[in-house]
Subunit: 359 residues, 2 copies
Amino acid sequence: MSIIKVAVDAMGGDKGHKVVVKGAIKAAKANPVKIILVGHEKKLQNALRKHKYDGDMIEIVGASEEITMHESPKQGIEAKPDASIVVAAKLVGEGKADALVSAGSTGSVVLSAARFIPRISDVRRTAIATVYPTLNELERNDYLSLMLDVGANVHCSAEELAQFAIMGSAYVGDVRGIPDPKVALLNIGEESSKGGEKMQEAYRLLQNTDSINFVGNIEGKDILRGISDVIITEGFVGNIVIKTLEGAAKTIGKLGKLAFKARISWRFGLVMLRKGIAILKEVTDYSEYGGAPLLGFEKMVIIAHGRSNQKAISNAIKLAGKCVRDDVCGQISKNIKSFERTPGREYERMAFERSAKDK
Amino acid sequence: MSIIKVAVDAMGGDKGHKVVVKGAIKAAKANPVKIILVGHEKKLQNALRKHKYDGDMIEIVGASEEITMHESPKQGIEAKPDASIVVAAKLVGEGKADALVSAGSTGSVVLSAARFIPRISDVRRTAIATVYPTLNELERNDYLSLMLDVGANVHCSAEELAQFAIMGSAYVGDVRGIPDPKVALLNIGEESSKGGEKMQEAYRLLQNTDSINFVGNIEGKDILRGISDVIITEGFVGNIVIKTLEGAAKTIGKLGKLAFKARISWRFGLVMLRKGIAILKEVTDYSEYGGAPLLGFEKMVIIAHGRSNQKAISNAIKLAGKCVRDDVCGQISKNIKSFERTPGREYERMAFERSAKDK
């Protein structure tokens, strides 16, 4: 097998291309991957020149434009055909690279991937998955769970939710090394009758999907307990939930600061406070675990956080490499195919489509 | 005007009828309301006998059955026509009381009210509103915001969301004494184009509703900041968000306990931690602010928390009395009527119904 190539959007990210270059060098040293840095050729050459690295493992592909965080992703992609994220996604789509890593705006990564990288056959919608820290009640080796979709789509069907479960399971099974990851459906109660017709249908589908280990519905209050490895929800809800947790973490941080100003005697508490709330703070800290996978494409796409430092970029590249090596996309494809061919699915699908029309 | 009568479901609540009786006595002493305690006649007489109270202000109406927290509300109401919540709701529906207070299961209160208390004319769906604490960035006199719906319904239309905004505004305007409360729509982004067709339509409707002060979309990360007085969302999302916050508060509490066990030196921090996270803990602590209003009925309904102590029961009765005195339901009725008669609404409604069908 030839060496794995990861295309890295070198202009994405709030901290600028120099941090991405440093992260790429770090990754190339520690992992058997070749990195294709995509961005302003001269800037990248200048940045690379300041470091020692194996020239066989890092190459530059020029891209004269970039899409900023504040730009409309849709307009950006249309107006800038030579933007770094566009060129990087094209490289992956054309098979010149095996995976894509970008710390650019989520919208621009999602849209570029959608335009230039083929979706896995039978996958109806791609999904953004976010890793978040939990109390780890399952006592896994790490304390992370995966939630998807957190914003690639607004709404989706029961069948699409089941597909998200298949994709999330395959990803977590590989990346966290959990053989039979527990999958739960985010809902307003534990009973299978909760949440309206679509959620009831999703519950039934998930129960009858062979390639996943469905453990039932999960309520909002149990998200942080870590009682499932994967939580499935539609983008509208997932986005609001993840941002609510982010807001809760910030609120506590702010209260800490207010306390710091208010009373000397509180200062002792603050150090502790900070440790105690680390678990919530990390909801938005991708640096340890590399980034959010965008699942459903034939090639692996990792969205690194906009604020990624060099360690986070390096981890994102490492993660992309591991997913390619273990053929996560191939596993997803296999399981989605088997899901679509489950006997009885045809009937269930028709019944569901009928009921959706009646509403 | 004759004295305000509040029917209190004396058998609801995890702490038993004695606590409800104590709460009622406390409320009767401090407020110009007459309390009708509904429940097992003898038990209530025995409990009352132990206290001094004005016999003109507290009366008992017998109800031989009760619906427990673990019972299906629907089956409970059907099987137990003499359940305390059923009898209490009937008293209110028949005009023998002006408001209903219950610390029973949310489902049994919602269903009993729906069955026996008329909905305000033109109100399409009732909604449960929850008060939650914030960082109070608006610098109001208190640090509370209102979110609705948090679970009376699963999904609802754009028009129903606009009605929730009208109901929540009227309630907050009265109870918190805020003349022009700020109303925000919970969504996945601030732009009016976010969240799909229904949320776009809701945004437009909210903008054009005279009786409310719509300030735009609000994201999950800003819920706890207190930048709006009322947050509107559908029941599925509201329920998950409120429970997620509840879970975040519990998680921090648990981390605090783990820390307590782990290290002596952390103990200083814990006291501070507890103060700092009070804001999150109170998400589930109704005792200070009386309970969650169930809005949209012709009479006021207050759902007190299941774990209500006597102070919480007393506050819930006080809250119900204030709402009756200030005619919150009448205000809601007036504003809903004016909303339904807004010129242009007919056209918008038809267009929306068409687009909903096309999906």
